[in-house]
């Protein structure tokens, strides 16, 4: 089970980062959301996985670690605030700049971009 869990975290991270690397704001926001899922799951994993062990006293024999849960709970709420802020910023950027590119302007020469990305990749 642990391997599957770790694999899921890895996949979410990959998908999140790939989308964050895209050039349009909405896609980046989706990427950030995926990434925050990954981060929350990762943080949660520091308390290890446990079945039927909710940290409510008297309800189970062995309890799961409540501390990462408390941390992740606030992280989820703060993550929402962050996503909301970024998405509204993206809207404002589109309203003020007239486009939804992350740099506030659509790159003028695709060929220049191409060479830049080639240089970077090479």
């Amino acid at each position: 089970m642990e391997a599957i869990y770790a694999f899921c975290v890895g996949i979410l991270t990959t998908c999140g980062f790939f989308l964050v690397l895209r050039g349009r704001t909405f896609t980046v926001v989706i990427g950030l959301t995926l990434l925050s899922y990954a981060v929350n799951l990762f943080l949660f994993a520091s308390g290890r996985l446990k079945l039927d062990g909710a940290a409510v006293l008297g309800q189970s024999v062995e309890y799961s670690d409540p501390l990462p849960q408390a941390l992740v709970l606030t992280a989820i709420v703060i993550g929402f605030a962050m996503t909301a802020f970024v998405v509204i910023l993206a809207m404002r950027s589109r309203a003020d700049q007239g486009n939804d590119h992350v740099d506030g302007q659509i790159p003028e020469q695709p060929s220049a971009r191409l060479s830049a990305s080639d240089k970077r990749a090479g």
Binding site: C8, G10, T14, C15, F17, Y37, G79
Partner: protein, 931 residues
Amino acid sequence: MNLLWVVLLPLIGTLVPFFTERFGRNLCALSVAILPACSLILVLLYAGDIFSGQSLRQTIEWIPAIGLDLSFRLDGLSLLFLLLILGIGLLVILYARYYLSSKDSMGQFYAYLILFMSAMVGIVISNNLIQLWMFWELTSISSFLLISFWSNKSDARKGARMALTVTGAGGLALLAGLLMIANIVDSYDLDTVLASGDVIRAHAHYPIALVLVLLGAFTKSAQFPFHFWLPHAMSAPTPVSAYLHSATMVKAGIFLMARFYPALAGTDLWFVLVSITGLITLLLGAYIALFKHDLKGLLAYSTISHLGLITLLLGLNSDLATVAAVFHVINHAIFKASLFMAAGIIDHESGSRDMRKLNGLMKYMPYTATLAIVAALSMAGVPLLNGFLSKEMFFAETLDLSMFGSLSWMIPLLATVGAAFSVAYSLRFIHDVFFNGEPIDLPKTPKEPPRYMKVPVEVLVALCLLVGIFPAYIVGDLLSVASSAVLNGDLPSYSLAVWHGLNIPLFMSILAMVGGITIYHNRRHLFQFQSHFDEQDAKHVFEGVIQWIVKATERVVETFENGSLQRYIFLLLMFTLVMGAYPLFSLTENIGTREQIPVDGVTITGAVLMILSAIATVIWHRRRFLALTFLSVVGLMVSLAFAQFSAPDLALTQLSVEIVTIILLLLALFFLPQNTSKESTNRRLSSDLLVSSLIGCVIGTICFAILTMPLHSISDFFLANSKTGGGGTNVVNVILVDFRGFDTLGEITVLGIAALGIYKLIAKMRIFMPTRDDKGRAWSNDPHPMMFEMVSQSLLPLALLVSAYIFLRGHNLPGGGFIAGLITAVAIIQQYIAHGVQWIKPRVKVDYQWLIAGGILIATLTGIGSWVFEKPFMSTWFDYFDLPWVGEFELASAMIFDLGVYLTVVGAVMLILANLGKLTTSERISIKEND
């Protein structure tokens, strides 16, 4: 005793000129002189103790744990430099009163000058390495201000910048060196450092520390190859040159070498580095000085040469040579300061410093000329003047050298050559300026300066004579205490006398005199020879180097910061990848010993669903609505995962946040393009995919390693004390509202701030509102279906009831303020969706901003409330009560805190979503902008 005042008095004096400038020049100069004079008197009061062999200390503790103290020492060396700094400083104050014209801001000049003086005083009496370095840097900065005093002149600005760059860079090297020394001896205390010379010299890092400290000293004291800044600093007003570039600032490097002599000197490395640098500087300075037509240029190179001489003496690792070095520090300061002042008088009264124009001034200013001639003869090393004495000692020392083996005979020879050039340029100074025919078209007719402008020169020239004739009587004691401070107490026997009999040093002196006269007599041939070489202007070279650095830096910045967010993130990810992956190479066992949970069908189905929908989100990311749909599936699966792995609170939170997030993103998508066109090249896509996959692998590996390792958690404490200490059985909730309540308070504050920021962003948004989708269909024919309206309206009380239940049980069962707040928010949002903003507006009259503020206020007040009961901030109280029909129930202060959390969450979520929703209607918010 209070050594602090020695430096504090001048430092306070920095402010004096600003207040007294308006009372006229005389009063201003007088008031400025008072505090340094007090400081000098204070030093003189201590002088008796120093001469009787004591040395004084004073330490004021600041942060003793890391060795930062205000610590002062007054020993012979400090005393000598204090007398030079404060004594010559007072003369310069008097001199500058007459030198500055009425156009110059006298207050500003004096303020800079006194600041510099304080910094110098600070250097010489510091007993803490960091403190010493701080004053050292202060001299660099204040000298920058002084050199660039005439800031409308390009030369002054360039010269000042060069001086600051060179000495500032040297200062950084010095800091590194001092830190290394402090590390070696494990103390910033100068006494400790000076006492552990053997430890330092034996340490493996000694060579590096030595080189770094010497870099600081050489740059400050204009030693080759860093000498080039000093001639360009001559664009400063002459009082500055007289003060900084003869007696004080350039001597700071010498002081540094002398101060650290017990700790660093005595090795071959010290000998080679210091003596050879000194020798080259001595010869180079003396040679170039002869060819300078500018009076101050000649004096500047002469200063370089004499500083080289002192450095050479310090480098010889001989006690007698060190005494000679200290002696020459005194002598050079005296005659060079008076020469600079004389040069300033000549410049002031004739309007030129060019020796090709200045001729025959003896006729016009006989008195000043006499003074200058005496000082120049002292510079040349003529007997009965102070320069002669230290030069004799220097010659004697060069004769005793054996360090260069069979080549040692060259040192006395080179010393004589240097001295001959010194005689030659001194002769040029005397002959060219005061004799040699008539002046050639000078701007004004030269005349004697005001009476009191000559006083400082008179004082200094008198000292030249007195020291030259009665050396032991005038400076004997000072020299012996200063030298013994440098040598840590072992004073060699030497004699300060004018006449030592017929010996080789005297012969060398005579040889130098004759040689100097010969060189000067044949100067035309030499000048012609020199004119074959292109003179490399250090300014251009320096500016070129600076330009090159600026361009190179720009290129680097452009590479990393080209304005493309994608590139930044890519570079950041690469960095993360390297930093994250590197330690994994040393992790050989990534499967821990913890027993793993067996796989079951339901979980694997959920995992597959999550993975597939995450991948689908990426594949269809250009079709945004589709991507959003898949994203919501991922979120749902995440909340199920939390439920599966014993985190019911998380599952509830994730579920409600998921709903709110997706509604928010849907609303946002309404205003944004529905699809993204393909922009990235395949090459970019593959490289992005590669790097994100690699990061995914790294994160997954780390996650797996963590999951399989045994758990050592601090949570046992929380589990044990949750019920007894916090009064609740739901440990997660108790951690949130009790154990880590302060964190939660911070987090709801962040949430509130984010919501307010969003409110502000929405307020002035002028965004295009689409009426049709990208296929040309109208968005909606029936925005508020009746069925939906009815159902959601009837659901509202139920939802609120659930929310209240979740809130109340939160302390003991999964639930709490966060979750209840989200459920309430979702219930209200549903009404917005079903009925529209216009319908809600008259019915819900809650100001969400006040809800946030109220929530945070309640939470904070609950925390503060514990102070009333004299408990620490955020202590909780709880008790159990019994009511008929209801049964036993619990009341806890944590519940009030949780209420604050609840209100903030409701307020924040609603503030964001309701205002975003209003954008789709004519009810858009608009803030009346005052600004």
